[in-house]
Point group: C3
Chain length 311, copies 3
């Protein structure tokens, strides 16, 4: 972490331009509301105009269309939110855990750890696992045997990578377990949230491509493929053999059924269940609109009557 920086020093490193005094000194980022005289904050839209007017920040980051919204010293950047992300990285480490294997972690001898890998307390890393350079496993991550994780990957606590997929075959009222002999392959620059689970493949591998970002408590079934740079919010469930494209965004608590395909550049709204393939970029939604309970009950009863009719 560097010491304090002037706005002029910041734009030398990150681009953009300064409006107002370039020697304004800032020590840390902050929200508009939480900022004090040593902080730089950011403004991303008219929704926050009142907070901008009231802020005690020393400076702000904003877009060119908002340059006139304040007289504070400011950095003007085309993508102020991404700029702010990089600015915060100047002041703060992305990963707070030191490299090395914590003595309480259990790492198989046959595992292959890259340079500067960090394995937190209580992790379990199985036989023949490979983990690329500069990757971090926070405490209590489990990686089952044979899985491969790329470089600069961050895995948060409680995540389980490579447990058996849900492969069972019905036989005269009993379930026969299908050995899950595939593995999980995770590309570079992936982040995996706390308590997320990614199952190993039934036969072929489950694949998470580079740059994918997974929030907490996501379930990824066996033989799923998630294309590069797709971001998925928390609590989403993805059933087996779903093939999700690149550059998609999937809102929280969505459900993607199995054996279907989602094209690149598809956005799925939170809470939406996807039951068939989506072959065209766009935004897709399917959630029941909530309402006061009595209004909901009337509308729901109407729906059920419609189902019964001509039944």
């Amino acid at each position: 972490m560097p010491g304090p920086l002037t706005l002029g020093e910041i734009v030398q490193r990150l681009g953009g331009r300064v409006a107002g005094a370039p020697d304004t000194l800032v020590h840390q980022v902050a929200s508009l509301e939480g900022a004090g005289a040593r902080h730089i904050s950011f403004f991303t839209g008219s929704r926050y105009r009142a907070q901008l007017a009231a802020t005690r920040a020393a400076a702000v980051v904003l877009g060119p269309e908002a340059e006139g919204e304040t007289r504070l010293p400011r950095i003007v950047a085309d993508n102020p939110y991404a700029y702010f992300a990089r600015l915060s990285q100047l002041f703060n480490p992305l990963v707070v855990q030191q490299p090395g294997v914590h003595p309480s972690a259990v790492v198989a001898k046959s595992a292959n750890l890259g340079a500067r890998v960090s394995i937190g307390a209580g992790c379990a890393v199985g036989e023949r696992v490979a983990i690329g350079d500069d990757s971090t496993l926070y405490p209590r991550v489990v990686v089952y045997p044979g899985c491969r994780i790329g470089a600069r990957v961050i895995v948060h606590s409680g995540a389980v990578i490579g447990a058996d997929g849900f492969g069972i075959a019905e036989d005269e009222g009993r379930w026969v377990k299908i050995p899950q002999i595939g593995t999980v392959r995770i590309g570079d620059d992936v982040e995996i949230g706390a308590n997320t689970t990614i199952d190993r493949g039934a036969i072929d591998d489950t694949v998470i491509e580079e740059g994918v970002k997974l929030d907490n408590q996501i379930q990824v079934g066996h033989n799923v493929r998630i294309g590069a740079h797709t971001a998925i919010a928390g609590c989403t469930g993805i059933a087996g053999s779903a093939d999700i494209g690149r550059h998609c965004t999937i809102g929280g608590a969505a459900v993607i059924l199995g054996h279907l395909r989602i094209a690149d550049h598809v956005n799925i709204s939170a809470g939406t269940l996807i039951s068939r393939s989506i072959l065209k970029p766009g935004t897709y939604t399917g959630v029941y609109p909530f309402d006061e309970h009595s209004s909901w009950a009337r509308a729901a009863a109407g729906l059920r009557r419609k189902g019964k009719k001509n039944g």
Copy 2:
């Protein structure tokens, strides 16, 4: 744990009044169906009348309106369910884990543990964490650096407190990670269920106020605030910066989108997705009514036709 108690001794401790023999001796609580001659059970409504008639319990707890429903010795209390909870506490410990730090737990030197704190096997407690008196972490809880937990808090196994929030900014098709520099603050008397995750704030803190009860597998995003004495059932997901009031109840598997506000005393039904602020107390619902598959398919097709019309 005390030995057996008479109904008379119980009302001396907990209030209420005895109808029938006050020297009836009971050793433990039980359900109406599972009770034997040494047990005291409870009756909370006409739905359980058959079980009340058939029970072999020595005594029951019930409300004044139900006093005539049985001839068994009984304790009459205005809130029989809460009374039963306190009665069970007389016979049973609330927490089954001894105070102290299990030798397999990893607690940072800079962490600050209150009196009689119990840290179970395999827990990981990070730098500068503070935990108040009489709190319990069951095995395999992770608390990331800097988080603060109040007194008498119970955290069940697999919970993860303080992992990074899902803060990413899009920049020319790539995701830039925003350092998550806030922490989590948890008030007194909070309970947190197994495998629940509570993310640290992006800049300011995530806040769980006193008396909040969270069931299992709940996801709480960064910068959420949950007001005091709100109870949330399992599998609910709460997106970033949602501000939830005090004394709310949220049913299981609900979804609360981000950057919205929910007033005090709001009840949200199970499975409901909340997509805008709720400013008025009341009960809110939004779930698709289930039906036999064929009836559902007809109603769903009608809905989709309605969406296409005038499109």
Copy 3:
């Protein structure tokens, strides 16, 4: 694991019959697409006809109605998917963890472990737990005190068995905790997925009968009963005291409310919320059909108007 087998040797062990050269030698199972000359694959329907035509597998398993679909050496079996499962078991171990207690696991002295039980790294097994012969706990499973697990049970990493149920009683705006004094009883041949949670009973026990298969991230509330040979896909939530029958299938991300009953042989579709008892076998569904966002918005607005009318 045996060495390679001929088709003739396979049918001697597993039944079915060979069409084509019975001395065809195979070393491992594979998907139609991933197979090479040493592999045997399987074909379960016309959807995969192109892959069957293009496969480089040495042999395939298929049903009698599909016998003419290929000229490859083949095994004809009435239930080709279940046959393939058993065939894969010939070549691959069902469990990849050795018997014994890993030194980093914490097992209470009073726990009772059967023969050949395998307890992985970092597991925590509480007082008076019983685990039957040949059961496997993968790394980081927690079993709270008093729970009983049958024989040949597989529990994946991060699962938590026996945490407190969500038992709270409201008393003048505060929540009173109800001690959870039941346990969890799990039958033989059950499999439990990663990060799944099964709560202990409030008073009586939570019961998972023999042969039940639970996928990842399922939440099972206190006093639930799941009948024998029922299979439940990932992310499903089951509220307290739900009584689910035998031989049911429940799709992923379903929600089963509490205090209701589901008959034997019921199938519930993915994403469906079950709000009342189901007393008749059949398939039940209730999900909002997704659509392009604009079409969805029109249909949803119509639904909300219907709720307001006559309100």
